[in-house]
Assembly symmetry: C2
């Protein structure tokens, strides 16, 4: 048997967009804006769902971007957060982004994470999760975040991972509406699938 | 910026092992035995943690194997279940393994899934989850399954995904003990990390 293998590869337009970005993103809103731009461009380029995520270091340097690539890559685990986490770990060359708790890195997500991405966060080594749109914004247009615990923010903070919500929420939520209005697919409807 | 990319690639020994396997695995225990063998060999070859997972079709044909590769691949999302899901979707060329609910595929996991893998299952399109060792078996040796909802089996069955537990449980749990006794790393201890 030739073993299958699978490569996580960002759409080509991401490189150009990253090259145009500033060397540092000083404010938390600047960082979320960048993630939201990724989600918008992902719709425009038709390279996946309306979700972006980014790993930044504490000073605001971009470590790794992520966009939802479920449909074009035919892979249900490629939510934006999972892509950003995997690529940040590749860039940093370690499976624990915090390097044993010594370093602070943030995960920015344009919509609050689904059950899978939520569960991935404690293993990733990110120390802070910053969210744009809320679950309710995604649900309003038919997306589903999956079976996430009700107390998910507490579950993360109990593990030393801070959660900041509603950063540029309206702008992030508007992208979700743009996606639906542009005819974007809410996929796997029989399984009530998807988020981020 | 040259964009990072990341390839999910099984250890080389897996190909040889799969080549030696029968064309079909008739019984549910045969399928779990195969997954348990993967977890044991993953320890012997020092290619990751003591967890295996496999996607089988309803008749018992092997679609894609998975092993935990977090440490050697430096990627926290590479739990055995995630690897099996991503590679099965690659083999089948679709992000919904069930193809819109038409086809039944099972995910076998040598230990009950962690919070991340649990959350990934509804998006994958597998219609049945079959587990070996229990959470308690993994916790007994220091592993942590993360912030998974208490009612996780119900949460899956509510979404049309059957859960079968305790298949070859003792044999699967014995592998976890072998791993610790052989000096295997329980990683990310500061974040109470890992499972499967």
């Amino acid at each position: 048997m030739k073993l299958p293998e699978f490569t996580i590869q960002l759409p080509e337009w991401v490189a150009e967009y990253v090259d145009q970005s500033p060397p540092i993103f000083p404010e938390i809103e600047d960082r979320m804006d960048f993630a939201i731009d990724l989600s918008r461009k992902n719709i425009e380029h038709q390279t996946g769902g309306p979700f972006g995520a980014v790993i930044f270091d504490a000073a605001g340097h971009l470590i790794a971007p992520g966009v939802n690539m479920v449909i074009p890559a035919n892979c249900s685990i490629l939510h934006a957060e999972m892509v950003a986490i995997a690529l940040a770990q590749k860039v940093l060359n370690r499976f624990d982004i915090s390097d044993g708790g010594r370093l602070n890195f943030d995960l920015f997500a344009t919509t609050e994470p689904c059950a899978m991405c939520f569960g991935a966060i404690p293993w990733s080594g990110v120390r802070r999760l910053v969210c744009g749109a809320r679950k309710e914004d995604a649900q309003a247009i038919g997306f589903d975040e999956g079976p996430k615990p009700e107390n998910w923010t507490t579950a993360l903070s109990d593990r030393g991972i801070a959660v900041i919500r509603d950063v540029c929420r309206e702008k992030a939520a508007a992208i979700l509406n743009d996606y639906v209005n542009s005819g974007g697919l809410i996929y796997n409807p029989d399984l009530k699938s998807i988020n981020s």
